[in-house]
């Protein structure tokens, strides 16, 4: 378990899982490079936890194989895989002390002298003084660290984390995100992390796979996913996107021109997820923080060559670092615009006529033949 051979990638080939007629995970190929921090991101029921459990061996795949390096481990039971898991709500053994919880894996593998290793590991997670306590005497954050220590002490090839921070409050979660990232850098083990929190995934992971309905929608570095979403689901699930239904007027020379309710917008052809055809439909997207607002009286001051159209402020909320506006426009209802609070224009109040403008380079295009609201968090989902 402790030897680290070269080529310790996690490879899933054609792996899928069905329960009766319900398909939890569609056939999927995925390679997690050795030493990376990889996140599976998606709403509940998207198949991310099932995928993780198939890597751990807790779930038998319906089709496909799991490789660790060159070794096919598909038929190995969980207790024979060099993989350990940090469970959702931790699953610490309530009848054992913290010390025995951490020592559990070593003892099962027949290692006699565990004291030094356990003490070191408890020091690493800063819980040396809690060795004799029972799990229920620890706070949520401490339990979480025990769960990490209990898994890491076995030097697994891969550490699987199933919503490890879900039970913690916001402040502690931020702290633990940094802590986990630090530990990962320190020990250099491959981490596969399942989460529904897009901010958490982007903060911690090198690579994020966005899952939806049992499929991987898109995969890449966090900034890549954010700047170049390939589907409406990714565009809406990671942060917020303004998606405008538009008609392609012209597509030539690396630049696409579209029209929406009379407004003419431009975007780079390279940033279109689909091949735009003249006369066809296209969903044009722009992130709220890329848009600038100008009061209608100052419309003349806007530089040439920028995408622009007019609208009316429907609502504004001040949240400290920025002000978030909701703009009604014939081009698109309920556009979101975030304006940094550097110099606040007192005329920008609900009811004011404004011009929205942004750099065409910051525009992306998506296939119009998909649900424009896919991945938008509804109240029920967040509750």
């Amino acid at each position: 378990m402790t030897d680290k051979k070269a080529g310790g990638d996690v490879r899933l080939t054609g792996i899928s899982k069905t329960y009766g007629s319900f398909t939890a995970v569609h056939p999927l190929d995925l390679t997690v490079p050795e030493g990376s921090f990889f996140a599976l991101l998606g709403a509940s029921g998207c198949g991310k936890t099932t995928t993780l459990r198939m890597i751990a061996g807790l779930e038998d795949p319906t089709t496909g194989s799991v490789f660790l390096g060159d070794k096919d481990v598909t038929d190995l039971p969980p207790y024979k895989r060099p993989v350990n898991t940090v469970f959702q709500s931790y699953a610490l053994f309530p009848h054992l002390t913290i010390y025995e919880n951490v020592a559990f894996g070593l003892r099962r593998r027949g290692i006699r002298s565990v004291k030094k290793q356990v003490d070191d590991m408890l020091e690493l997670v800063q819980l040396g003084d809690k060795a004799k306590h029972k799990p229920h005497q620890l706070s949520g954050g401490q339990q979480q660290r025990v769960a990490v220590a209990r898994a890491l002490i076995n030097h697994p090839q891969v550490l699987l984390l199933d919503e490890p921070l879900g039970a913690l409050d916001l402040k502690l979660r931020r702290q633990m995100q940094l802590e986990l990232k630090r530990i990962q850098t320190e020990v250099g083990i491959t981490f596969v992390h399942v989460t529904h929190d897009q901010e958490e995934a982007m903060t911690m992971a090198d690579t994020v796979a966005v899952m939806n309905g049992g499929r991987v929608e898109q995969l890449g570095a966090p900034s890549e996913l954010y700047e170049n979403p390939q589907t409406t689901f990714v565009a809406n699930f990671l942060g917020t996107s303004n998606l405008i239904e538009a008609e392609v007027a012209e597509a030539a020379g690396g630049q696409v021109v579209v029209t929406a309710a009379g407004a003419k917008l431009r975007l780079p052809a390279a940033r279109c997820a689909t091949q735009p055809r003249t006369g066809g439909k296209l969903l044009v997207g722009v992130r709220p923080e890329k848009i600038s607002l100008a009061h209608a009286d100052d419309a003349g001051d806007i530089a040439d060559g920028r995408n622009r159209f007019t609208g009316k402020i429907a609502d504004s909320s001040f949240i400290g670092v920025s002000t978030q506006f909701v703009i009604d426009s014939p081009v698109c209802p309920e556009l979101e615009v975030y304006v940094q609070n550097i110099e606040r224009d007192p005329r920008l109040v609900p009811g004011a006529e404004v011009v929205l403008h942004w750099n065409p380079e910051h525009t992306f295009g998506l296939d119009a033949a998909q649900d424009i609201d896919a991945g938008v968090e509804t109240v029920e989902e967040t509750a």
Partner: protein, 270 residues
């Protein structure tokens, strides 16, 4: 003043009613205890005559009583072991696995608890009569194991159901094979449920009269002895045994409370 009293009574009505019920529950035990120091005039120990510790000094002084007591303890012990083993296995299967005919199996477990004891007793007797089985300790043991089983299933099932299945997964994830997982994680966590089931089974078996009455033949368990003595004459020693068991139980429970209370206190984080 009167109004104050009535208000006080009305405020504490629940407490007063509850304590009266408690008195109703405990009164016979007190009578049993008091009459264990009686020196009755005739064969029956129903009315008070004079104080005496004779019976306490010679608890086994009545013919066959202590034999019946030890027989009851043996039967209760083996019935408890059998019912706890079989019942725990069923409880684990019900909670942890999927299988066919779950509804039928649930009914089969529920029915013995929803059946007047005399019906089970009578039907079991027809079985033994038809099979020509000789009635005795074996038939009693079979019967006791049968009716204790369902109660064990309920007690263990409740505990296993409240147990997070992820704990077993975590054990497997940490290199424990199926046997190790069961011994090191499942069993210790389910132990309170199993212990509760076993204690219930022991109490039910030890105190059972109706089913034993039908299926014992000439064998005399302790309840059978008491039943017989109600007709022939009640020796004071019966009260001695009853009082001793009551006192023993209270001592065990109170000691358990104190120990677990101390442990909880010492385990508190500093």
């Amino acid at each position: 003043m009167l109004r104050l009293t009535t208000t006080w009574i009305r405020r504490n009505l629940v407490v007063i009613a509850g304590l009266l019920t408690l008195a109703y529950l405990v009164l016979p035990n007190i009578i049993v205890m008091v009459f264990s120091f009686n020196k009755p005039a005739g064969r029956f120990n129903y009315s008070w005559r004079e104080f005496s510790t004779d019976a306490w000094q010679d608890p086994c002084g009545v013919a066959d009583m202590c034999d019946s007591l030890s027989l009851s303890l043996w039967i209760a012990l083996w019935a408890t072991i059998g019912a706890t083993l079989l019942g725990s296995m069923i409880a684990f299967a019900l909670v942890r696995y999927r299988f066919r005919a779950r509804g039928a199996i649930n009914s089969l477990i529920f029915l013995p608890m929803a059946m007047p004891e005399v019906v089970m007793a009578a039907s079991l007797l027809t079985l033994f009569l038809n099979l020509g089985a000789e009635l005795g300790p074996t038939t009693i043991l079979i019967a006791h194991t049968m009716f204790c089983l369902s109660f064990v299933v309920v007690a263990v099932k409740a505990r296993v159901m409240s147990m997070d299945p992820r704990l077993e997964e975590a054990a497997k994830d940490l290199y424990a094979g199926p046997v190790q997982t069961f011994l090191r994680v499942t069993l210790p966590i389910a132990a309170p449920g199993i212990a509760a089931g076993a204690m219930l089974a022991f109490a039910l078996s030890f105190d059972d009269f109706i089913i034993t009455n039908f299926n014992s033949g000439n064998t005399v368990t302790f309840p059978m002895f008491v039943w017989g003595s109600a007709q022939r004459g009640t020796p004071v020693q019966i009260n001695v045994i009853g009082t001793a068991m009551f006192a023993l139980a209270v001592i065990v429970v109170v000691a358990g409370q104190i120990i677990s209370g101390r442990r909880r206190k010492s385990a508190l984080p500093k």
